[in-house]
Amino acid sequence: MSKPKVAFYWCASCGGCEEAVVDLAEVVLDVVEAVDIAFWPVALDFKVSDVEALADGELAAAFINGAIRTSEQQEMVELLRRKAGAVVAFGACAWLGGIPGLANLSSRESILEFVYRGSPSVQNGDGGVPQELIDVPEGRMTLPHFDETVRTLDQVIDVDYYLPGCPPPCGLIAGAVMALVEGRLPEKGSVLAPDVALCAECSRAATKPEDLKLKSFKRPYEVIADPELCLLAQGLVCLGPATRSGCGAVCIAANMPCTGCMGPTSRVIDYGAKALSAIASLVESEDEDEIAVLAGQIADPVGTFYRYSLPASLLHRRVEPARVSEGTAS
């Protein structure tokens, strides 16, 4: 019996997820032993045509990391969807939009403007911006379309499973792959991580007071955190209470607060809103003006609470001011 075929692919991502696969170290050999890798652009020389040549559903699974921003990414994930029995959204970006999803705070135009013209480090003679189609003496050149909005993988294709994390912890990856190989899969749509928040596995949980109230919020660079005590109790915005466990609280072990890459539990539909609610509840004041001041100490609330999940949030992206012509109609 032939080994199941799997594919790895990356979209709008940093490459960290690919590293995570490599980081499986010895386990990766077991994986390679167990499966046939049919497509893995970052490591193996396959072509798109190799994928196209596969029969529909021939891949046992496609592990796709990164968010979706371009037409090329969309085409590729649609192709992989057709070829794969199961699609696993691999990592925070594919599941929730991730860090690239924060681009949803800016418009497509302003991004192009800054990257190709405005950024202080750019030297771009005539201020040209990449074109999807351009005729040059050598012939016609094309680039993928750059979408208005960053989307999560499941906003583009049907997704069977999600592996959370930035990047997903090795243990979870190995567990997922082995489960796949051994055919003991959970219900479709499952997130392949414990469905309980991080405090459950945080070694500092016991040091959090039951009636914690904060008079100020601090950022990590502002304090030297006590390595034993709950970071929230030290005024640092640690999102562990809102974030799935399964990572082993490694950031907290390094004395850095959880920023939420493992995403929400299954009972939460908007990660940022819930995290915001929990943090706001800690504010120690009943005075309306003071509450506003304390709330204002949390720098960049969207970036803080939706660091990994803006495209998956209920609002998806920043609302652009209506153009005048639009504003009057409807």
């Binding site: 469905d195 309980v196 928040a197 991080l198 405090c199 459950a200 949980a205 016991a206 959090k208 007071p209 039951e210 009636d211 914690l212 109230k213 999102l239 562990g240 209470p241 809102a242 466990s245 929400p264 539990t265 299954s266 009972r267 939460v268 539909i269 819930k274 995290a275 609610s277 929990a278 509840s281 800690l282 409807s330």
Partner: protein, 674 residues
Amino acid sequence: MLEPEGGLTSQPISTNGGPRIGVYVCHCGLNIAGKVDIQAVVEFASTLPNVAVARDYKFMCSDPGQELIERDLRDGLVNRVVVASCSPLMHEATFRKATAKGGTSPFYFQMASIREHVSWVTVDNDDATAKAKALVAGAVRRVALHEYLEPRQASVRPDVMIVGGGIAGIHAALTMADAGKHVYLVERESTIGGHMAKFDKTFPTLDCAACILTPKMSAVRAHPNITLWTYADVVSVEGFTGDFTVRVRHRPRYVREDLCTGCLACIDACVHKQAKIPAEFDEGLGKRKPIYIPFPQATPPVVVVDPEACIWFKTGKCPRPCIEACERDAFDFEQTETFEEVKVGAIILATGFKTFDAAKMPEYGYGVYPNVYTSLEVERLLNAAGPTSGEVVLRGGGKPKVVGIIHCVGSRDAKHNLWCSKVCCMYSLKLAHMVKERTGAEVYNFYIDMRTPGKGYEEFYDKILKEGVHMVRGRVAGVTDEAASLEEEGRLVIRAEDTLIGSVRRIPVDMVILAVGVEPQPDAQDVRRLFNISCGGEGFFTERHPKLAPVSTFTDGVFLAGACQGPKDIPETVAQAGAAAAEVLAMVDRGAVVLEASTAFIDDAACSGCKTCVGLCPFGAIGFDDERKKASVNEVVCKGCGICVGACPSGAAQQHLFTDAEIFSEIEGVLEYV
């Protein structure tokens, strides 16, 4: 046009055979049907997911209306119910009962308020119909998710607390004590009796206030089922209906209540030979010593030492002949505040009222001209046990020959209090009669309207008219000592428009009586917070329903009696006190109360032990198990606010009847515009 597509909750839901929802749209006569197109709402409802039956009826709250629901439930046509009618604050209990009678959980029910929130507040019929549909859609979507809940019960402690020892508190206390319940009656003054004890006569029968009140006061003191605490106040209230823990502070009177017999020998012995301190009970018209009893029939008849005035407390140097004089050795100058906690099943608030501060209307000269009095001062002047032994003697001496009584002082006045104080017309007539009787003076009453609804009241008015009391209909512009003629020289002049003869009159008088209105107690807001009830805009305590629950409050187990709820005369106050007592008796004798079902709960497996909820609970209902690292809600203590649920960062905390999913569904429903 960008619009979110798809619904938050549009997947069909399957529980116990799938929800089959019955929607019942009420006409409420024309209250709803006059504005909302009932047929359109019914047709719309029948298109909503999971709706098995949609009906309308003239009055859903009537017996036949409720039977519609019960029958459909019993016939198995439906297993969940939505009634679109009035506010849930009005009839939720009614329809929950009907649902339960249909043989299922009363909580498989949701109400859409299409009267208070739609037909009564919307101008346009189409808008009203659209809004009604939206609210129905919200209710239908959410009721599909309702879970099976059993009504919870808690037992009721048999003891009762009454706060305030005026006639309302006294009557309620005696009623309940006679029924065998133990009553704690807490009064902050040193005696019970309240305002009524200050009056000489009561209208319209002119029977002596003391004659009818003091026997009841004595009965309170003597009753084995009543614990009377005077000079005491409530400092905290915890718990919930059926099981309140009330903390009471006893202020020191420096005399042991259990020893003092009320012989008053100490008062005679006091080094203060003359009574010099304005007596509060006499509205400052009489004087008292640093050791005093407010009035002879004070109950309990125990003297009080005023540390502000007592030389011992001020200087530490006094031979204290009072101690000497006391045969019972009742003095204890070392007394301090003490606190006591009692557990009771129900509380009646009978905290009464205060009168309007006449100095707020400088045009009437109170506090400027000595011969301008408030009605309460005149009550004391007229009282046989008062500072003048019932003689109407002016502050400057002498009896008045002409007296003017100004009605509505601080009442029916946009600058002060908008409401009618209800009792002033009648007591002004009573004062007119009594002043005339005692002094033979000419009496003028200046009124806006005469309000005499009540048994024997109009007849009393008629009698006073026949006695020759002058009635001038018009608002008084001012009271001045500016004399325009020889006749006015040295007297007070009341300037008023006489609207019946159409001219401005100047009437010189020797005495002005201001019929001050009835106001909430100055600390009504504090008391309200203490007992977790609400006040209306004017500051009186709010009853649960102005018609159907006039002595209940929005806080179960806390009831109202007397003028703390609004201006009332004595008969009404006593009737209301009886009603409050009856409500409490019903509750205590039933022995159990149904508790609100909407408590919070924590999904144990989902709880990460982050403790976010623990400190947020205002009632300490959330416990944390350090071993298991899990939080859990004590559902008996939980009051169902849902603060913890809103904060729980991982969605492990939820609230019965207000789960996230139910609310998301309702949001989606109300946005289903048509």
